[in-house]
């Protein structure tokens, strides 16, 4: 029998605020343990949360981009459970009255369009981190992540294939990143995915018992886990047994799925409205302002790159993979570099080094103005293209300006005709045989002569000029 999977997703995304959702502590990743904390996020007695408005605005951006309905009035709620990474013993989340209801994302699948509907998007605070050191009987607590703002996007069980899940996750990530709502950095846990999965025989309408896989921190893992779980459930059903409702964890290293907690520990979260916060009131004026502040999304950017900068579709596609790269590119051409040549360099050399050294564009030492300077030097002939690559590598490693590197190394290109003619004359005189052959029709020997000139000038000769003069002098 053929079985049809049904999948629903819950995606936790970290909002890109500078400070935490209920206090003024920084959200920056990678700080030393327990350096981003205060009485509020440590859950000390008597302290109170104060909502970070910017976090609400970032969530609102996502609603506007997914046609969600921003509620005029929403409430935070306490979700109660004990765990050492949860200082207050409850997480401030939203329950009955989320900030955003509904919404959807349309996918273009191989089998045509598919709409994934949202149930809701709500806001909540992240928990802290527990650090378990092997061989140590004590566990350690790090407050830095406590109170980092999250949105949880809950979809309807609308997924029927892995392709849909994959397209959806990538599209959602793109929205998160381009809207500025989240940095979308998977390695830093900015996006975490839970999946609800069930299978039913083809032809059956109602859904069967579902399981939930929690806390997958990469799309690859999420897809693998869902695939595993569908296979596991199919096995169970084919053996004539029943799938039981449980929460599972996926171990990507061993590729296995195991139950997360037993039934006895099933939580009753005892949600109730958070009395320390007032309702979140959103009026049309606020929504309009957020709409007007929405950054350019990827599609718009891509089309604009094609129209405004005359780029091929391929270039526009690559340059808009992230808003940071697109911004970098536009800064380079803003400094006067030729749009297509700048595109070639950003797509080629810049991305190559970012990939090789695994750094972000912000950490990249070649600032846009420096790359523009280099490209202009190539254009006006003061440096050759091949020489430029050497200079670029050096810029990337030590962050120095191209003009300084070129001057120090004496790499300035020789474009002066008189000087070039002297060298070329020397080359012609010392290679009479080749000259003979060239004249008798073997014109592809021109490359040989150019090579000789380059050798004598240690690559500094302007190749175009050399070509022109050589042809003149050999004819």
């Amino acid at each position: 029998m053929k079985y049809i999977p049904t999948v629903g997703l819950e995606i936790h995304s970290q909002l890109a605020t500078k400070t935490k959702i209920f206090c003024g502590c920084p959200t920056a990743f990678g700080g030393e343990s327990n350096t981003h904390g205060c009485p509020v996020c440590l859950g000390m007695p008597g302290v109170l949360p104060v909502l970070n408005k910017h976090a609400v605005e970032l969530a609102m951006r996502m609603a506007l981009l997914t046609n969600g309905e921003i509620q005029k009035r929403s409430y935070f709620a306490r979700k109660n459970y004990f765990y050492p990474d949860l200082p207050k013993g409850y997480q401030i989340s939203m329950f009955e009255f989320p900030l955003i209801k509904g919404g959807y994302i349309d996918l273009k699948t191989e089998n045509g369009p598919k709409r994934i509907r949202f149930n809701r998007i709500h806001m909540e605070e992240d928990a802290g981190k527990l650090i378990h050191v092997e061989g140590d009987i004590e566990s350690y607590f790090d407050v830095n992540r406590c109170g980092v703002p999250l949105i949880e996007t809950v979809t309807e069980p609308d997924f029927g294939t892995l392709e849909q899940v994959s397209l959806f996750l990538n599209q959602l990530k793109e929205l998160l990143i381009f809207s500025g709502a989240s940095l979308g950095n998977m390695e830093q846990g900015n996006i975490r995915v839970d999946a609800n999965i069930s299978i039913r025989p083809q032809g059956q309408k109602e859904l069967n018992t579902r399981t939930e896989i929690k806390n997958m921190n990469s799309f690859v893992n999420a897809l693998a886990a869902i695939e595993h779980e569908i296979a596991r459930q199919t096995d169970i059903v084919e053996q004539g047994k029943k799938v039981i409702q449980e929460t599972l964890l996926y171990d990507p290293v061993h590729g296995i799925i195991a139950p997360m907690r037993s039934k006895e520990e099933a939580h009753d979260y005892r949600y109730f409205p958070e009395p320390d916060l007032v309702p979140v009131f959103v009026d049309d004026e606020w929504i309009d302002r957020i709409r007007s502040e929405l950054p350019e999304m990827r599609n718009e950017k891509r089309n604009r790159f094609i129209q405004e900068h005359g780029l091929p579709e391929y270039d526009a596609e690559i340059l808009t993979t992230s808003p940071d790269i697109a911004k970098y590119y536009e800064l380079v051409i803003g400094e006067g570099a030729d749009p297509k040549k700048a595109s070639n360099w950003v797509m080629g050399e810049v991305l190559r080094i970012l990939n090789e050294t695994r750094i972000t564009i912000d950490e990249f030492k070649v600032k846009p103005s420096m790359l523009a300077e280099l490209l202009i030097m190539i254009d006006n002939g003061s440096i050759s293209g091949s020489m430029a690559k050497t200079v670029f590598d050096e810029m990337a490693s030590n962050g120095r300006h191209p003009k300084i590197i070129v001057a120090e190394k004496g790499l300035t290109q020789i474009s002066d005709k008189g000087e070039l003619k002297k060298v070329i004359r020397e080359v012609i005189e010392s290679n009479p045989n080749e000259v003979e052959k060239y004249k008798s029709g073997k014109t592809n020997l021109i490359a040989f002569f150019v090579g000789q000139v380059m050798k004598m000038t240690r690559g500094k000769a302007n190749p175009q000029e050399v070509n022109v003069i050589l042809r003149e002098m050999l004819s």
């Binding site: 009485p39 000390m44 007695p45 104060v50 207050k88 005892r270």
Partner: protein
């Protein structure tokens, strides 16, 4: 001693003008503490050295011609549910027995800015859950008017400290009557301000939607003075109202002629002690003679106030007290077998019986399957109780009621009967549910020489009128400083 017949208003002027030094006043108060504490137990922690050091520095500032503030040099007692940086803050609980916070409550910052001298942290029922101060992990406070009687609670320590002259002014907190009821029992004045009038930042939460900090003092004017210092907006408390703070003293003796006062019939029914009733009715006569007009009113949902309160307050408390888990601060049981065991033992050993009772009640009422029947229904009734007041305040400007059905009762007489105990708050709880202000002011004494207060309730942010009404009564009855049998 003459010094103790002066309240905060008088002493603040005397200190400001150099008639007396803060050091002298503080020393006198510390001496009283030394004399009286053995049988009063008003304080959980006293800070004599800090207080003297601070008093001296205030005196120096005055000599240097600096503005020492509205409460410059006044020795004050702070209920131990209010966070004080560097001073142990226990909330009357074993679980916080050794907790020294690194931050101040908003009201403490305000008091210190106004020049107050903190002499110590006063006794309270554990996590302010109680009406007698007997659920304190420490020894219960005793009523200075009769040390065999309770002080009332939960701010019993502050009330007792005032009545025994172990401080000049104090702060309490009130969730269901915790300022007003001990004020009545100990013969002092206490006001629960409008919810949101005073920042809750740094008040150890019992029931967040009901808790409010307020002044407890020896006179009405003193309460007005202290409230004008601690009230006002604080951006660290989202429920704090952003409304200007009036000078409560300017209009305090402008009279009450023509003020319409309601007498709710539900507050004078079965269960009200006859002496308390008489004293209350005498207060009505006094107010009439001052020009007030009385109107019979009804607050029909009064009988539901106690059950409503014990559902909502305990529900919030069950969550508010989850942070005391032994992980980051506070009491942690030794040698737990595992994490779960650590939680269970730390909380079982760290909390007292009344706190555990309320955590259980609140947890139950929020549990799956019971939420709608209890928590949600209680929220609906809360709205009805509030609407009773809204309706009443269309015809009257204020409401006069008893504070508690009885005067201070003997220690130990109700502690084992929680339902009887809960009834002690029957006249004060509705006001917290409605978020309105109420003041308890001494109205007389029983034949046993026990003080009895009456309560004035007002509209949202109408503390000004409450002070005027209370002051009008006080002018006739006297304050705890002057009336017959005052404990000096």
């Amino acid at each position: 001693m003459e010094l103790f017949e002066s309240g905060a208003c008088d002493l603040a002027i005397k200190i400001k003008t150099g008639t007396i030094s803060s050091e002298e006043v503080t020393k006198a108060v510390l001496q009283k503490i030394e004399q009286r504490e053995y049988d009063i137990n008003a304080y959980i922690t006293t800070t004599p050295e800090l207080a003297l050091k601070r008093a001296k520095s205030i005196d120096i500032q005055r000599i240097q011609g600096k503005d020492i503030g509205l409460l410059g040099g006044i020795p004050m007692a702070i209920k131990d549910s209010i966070i004080t940086a560097g001073i142990r803050t226990t909330a009357g609980s074993h679980i916080l027995e050794n907790f020294i916070p690194p931050y101040n409550a908003h009201v403490i910052d305000k008091l210190l800015d106004a020049g107050a001298v903190i002499v110590g942290k006063t006794n309270t029922d554990e996590f302010t859950m109680g009406s007698t101060c007997e659920t304190s992990y420490f020894k219960p406070a005793r009523n200075p008017h009769n040390t065999g009687r309770v002080t009332g609670g939960s701010s019993g320590g502050s009330a007792a400290a005032l009545a025994a002259h172990e401080c000049i002014a104090a702060l309490g907190s009130d969730t269901g009557g915790s300022i007003r009821q001990p004020a009545s029992f100990c013969g002092i004045t206490g006001i629960k301000p409008t919810y949101g009038r005073v920042s809750r930042y740094g008040l150890i939460a019992y029931a967040s939607s009901l808790d409010q900090i307020g002044p407890m003092t020896k006179s009405v004017k003193d309460s007005a003075l202290v409230l004008s210092v601690i009230a006002g907006y604080d951006n660290r408390d989202s429920t704090c109202l952003n409304e200007p703070v009036p000078d409560y003293l300017t209009e305090i003796d402008s009279g009450i002629s023509g003020i319409k006062i309601g007498l709710p019939k539900e507050y004078f029914e079965e269960g009200l002690d006859s002496e308390v009733c008489d004293i209350t009715m005498k207060a009505v006569e006094i107010m009439k003679s001052e020009g007030a007009e009385f109107i019979d009113i009804s607050l029909p949902h009064t009988e539901y106030a106690i059950p409503t309160y014990y559902l909502l307050a305990t529900a919030e408390a069950s969550a508010n007290l989850e942070r005391y888990d032994g992980v980051r601060y506070g009491y942690r049981a030794e040698n737990p077998e595992n994490l779960y065991d650590m939680y269970c033992k730390s909380r079982s050993e760290g909390f007292g019986i009344e706190v555990k009772r309320r955590i259980m009640l609140g947890t139950y009422c929020l549990s799956a399957g019971y939420y709608d029947a209890y928590y949600r229904k209680a929220q609906k009734v809360r709205r009805l109780i509030k609407e009773d007041f809204d309706k009443a305040f269309k015809t009257v400007d204020a409401i006069l009621t008893p504070v508690s059905p009885t005067p201070a009762f003997p220690l130990g007489s109700k502690i084992n009967d929680p339902l009887q105990m809960y009834l002690a708050d029957i006249y004060t709880i509705s006001l917290n549910l409605a978020g309105l202000p109420g003041i308890s002011v001494p109205a007389g004494k029983t034949s046993d020489n026990l003080p009895v207060g009456v309560q004035f309730m007002g509209r949202v942010l109408d503390e000004n009128l409450l002070f005027r009404l209370a002051y009008a009564l006080e002018r006739n009855v006297g304050t705890s400083l002057t009336y017959e049998g005052a404990v000096v």
